[in-house]
């Protein structure tokens, strides 16, 4: 019984982390699906989202506003606006001028952007990690007193529900709206979409904006969940989310969701049963293995190289 509870605890923790990875992974997968580049700076966009959310929360607290739903909503909206603007600007400055060149050139540009943004926040906000107030406290516990108790916090429930809402909204947006339809068209064939009168530049910008907004949501949620943020925490999270995107099949949106959840569970099982220090080794090892044996991921389509 206890072992089972312990297992379920790890499962819940894994799914919580995994669903935020999925939110970040959407940004990678959509950009890759459309212009075929790895947006290396996406993890930094997520970090900036978390910082903006914390700034908004602290600002509201200074003003004396403490009504929780309002605080969360304002923080979320602020984070999404700043992150989306950042995503738009990054695409405009660093990626659009190098689009269509050799594969490595946009990637190096993206790495430069990632280093730049990390240090931008580092210089403006200091390098130390800052405590993120846990606004949502409490939760349910299962299991008898005195032995192992499984807990499911309200924070975790919030993360699940928010992720679910975001994913549903994104799916509807992609499948129903005009821009969503254009997005799908551009990802199938950029040149053809252009010929048919779709403003591809706008659609590519829109992709970056959507990805950045979802990353900001993840930033707020993970910031509250972990309880502290620092300018470097976007890097590893970005790498994990990229792993999730590759795991699910890069370019596929349902794949990113699935990959995020699988990666989250794999990680929390490692830290639950083996050792927390090696959980990064497991996720990077997983990434290497997938790329070696099934580069298309779980739900991805094989890429045919034309001569």
């Amino acid at each position: 019984m206890q072992d089972l509870l312990y297992f379920f605890q790890q499962l819940i923790n894994g799914l919580t982390i995994g669903s935020t990875y999925a939110l970040i992974a959407i940004g990678y997968t959509m950009v890759y699906g459309i212009i075929g580049m790895i947006n290396f700076a996406h993890g930094e966009i997520y970090m900036i989202g978390a910082y903006t959310a914390l700034i908004a929360i602290t600002g509201l607290a200074t003003l004396g506003i403490a009504w929780l739903p309002l605080v969360l909503l304002v923080a979320l909206v602020c984070a999404m606006i700043v992150s989306s603007s950042m995503g738009w600007a990054v695409e405009r400055v660093a990626y659009r001028p190098v689009r269509g060149r050799h594969r490595l050139i946009p990637l190096i540009s993206a790495i430069g952007m990632s280093i730049f943004l990390q240090n931008y926040v580092h210089l403006a906000q200091g390098s130390r990690n800052i405590g993120f107030p846990s606004l949502i406290q409490g939760g349910f516990t299962f299991g008898s007193e005195g032995s192992f108790q499984m807990s499911l916090s309200y924070m975790q429930i919030t993360i699940f529900i928010t992720t679910l809402i975001c994913m549903t909204a994104l799916s509807l947006f992609i499948s129903r709206s005009r821009i969503g339809r254009a997005c799908r068209a551009v990802s199938q064939d950029l040149g053809m979409a252009n010929l048919l009168g779709i403003d591809t530049n706008r659609i590519i910008s829109a992709t970056f904006v959507i990805g950045a907004a979802l990353a900001a949501v993840a930033g707020l949620l993970l910031g509250m969940y972990y309880g502290s943020i620092d300018p470097l925490f976007g890097f590893i999270a970005g790498l994990k989310a990229f792993t999730a995107a590759v795991l699910g099949g890069i370019g596929s949106i349902p794949g990113a969701m699935l990959g995020g959840l699988i990666l989250g569970v794999a990680e929390s099982m490692t830290s639950g049963y083996l050792s927390g220090e090696y959980k990064d080794v497991v996720s990077f090892g997983l990434l290497i293995l997938i790329l070696l044996f099934k580069p298309t991921g779980l739900l991805g389509k094989p890429e045919v190289e034309k001569i």
Binding site: M37, I38, I48, Y51, T52, L54, I55, T58, T62, I81, V82, S85, M86, A89, A94, P97, V98, R101, H102, R103, L104, I105, P106, L107, I108, S109, I111, G112, M113, S114, I115, F116, L117, Q118, N119, Y120, L123, A124, Q125, G126, R128, I130, G131, P133, F235, L239, F242, V246, E277, Y278, D280, V281, F284, G285, L287, I288, L291, L292, P295, E305
Partner: protein, 424 residues
Amino acid sequence: MPAQNFKHALFCAVITLIIAYPILGLNLEAQGINVTLTGADTFTIVSVFLAAVVVFLFQLFRDNIMGSLQGALSGLSSGSQKEPMAENKRAKIESWVLTGIVVLALFWPFFVSRGAVDLATLVLIYVMLALGLNVVVGLAGLLDLGYVAFYAVGAYTFALLSQYTGISFWVSLPLGALLAALFGLVLGFPVLRLRGDYLAIVTLGFGEIIRILLNNWTSLTGGPNGIGGIPDPTLFGMEFGRRVKEEGNTSFHETFGIAYSGEHKVIFLYLIALVLAVFTALVIRRFMRMPVGRAWEALREDEIAARSLGLSRTAVKLSAFTIGAFFAGFAGTVFASKQGFISPESFVFLESAIILAIVVLGGMGSQIGVVLAAIAVTILPELAREFSEYRMLVFGAAMVLMMVWRPQGLMPMRRIHIELNKQD
């Protein structure tokens, strides 16, 4: 269309404000558990608004500015057009200049301060690393983001061997390089069939795995505490310390009957690094002219065409990867010996990014460019110490700008070619 330009300019200015103001203008400060928000000083806020105004004006008159800039640039380049020098004459001048620089570098340390020589040693280590990565990224076109792992292998090989078996620097130097090359071979074998950007991520993951292992395998590597007491290199059994540590060795200053000075060791290390860096450059230069070097470039330019001409993709890429790793191992051994202490802190991803930045700034594939970039990137932050915290910010921005404006680097690589004598 002025109206459309105006709207776009306004939009860009607002975006600038949104991305700059919250992060720069409002500072979070941790006081105990509480976090407080303070506004930044007036200077920062004024600069943020100024930046927005500049962006607005630039976007508004974008067409005019770009037009006149283009005109100025084309005027500049047409003015300085001159007859290209004959290739072999140029090569001759180049080799004379290079020999002169090496000779100068040999005698230079005897006249300057200890700190300068120490810094120069570090520069030479970066030169070695950058030349090695240049083979992988610049010549073979394989983006390796985990290059620092091979550097770590070299450094840890020397540190561990000297700690457990007492092996000296000179035995360890080839061993460390060979072990790093072996790591390159073992990693390269499975991953090299991946496409460019996937390869980059896999090597990044590999680099992180090596670092995490070094950090957590406490019983062998000492974990985050690192390994200290790494011995200095010796000159034919002569040690550079005040007292001889090992049986059978003599000390340098006693043998030659000169007064003990700490500088001897520093200069000796510098000279070793110089010889190794020159060796690295020469060996790689040879490789570039050998069939394998041509094959690297052919595969980089057009993989399908190169393969259809019978080049083995795996063998060619693997050779580049292994040779690059070999020289990283070299550099790692020298680094361990110079520092006397190593820990996983020295082998983080940022280090890989710096080496990559050197290669990119210098011009991928160009040896002279890479050497100059290594010197600039290592020395400039030392000269401008008060700006040292902006170092990485500038690096990042420079990488982006180089890719946008001059992806071939500051000193682009020249193709090796032979010109036929003109028939009269």
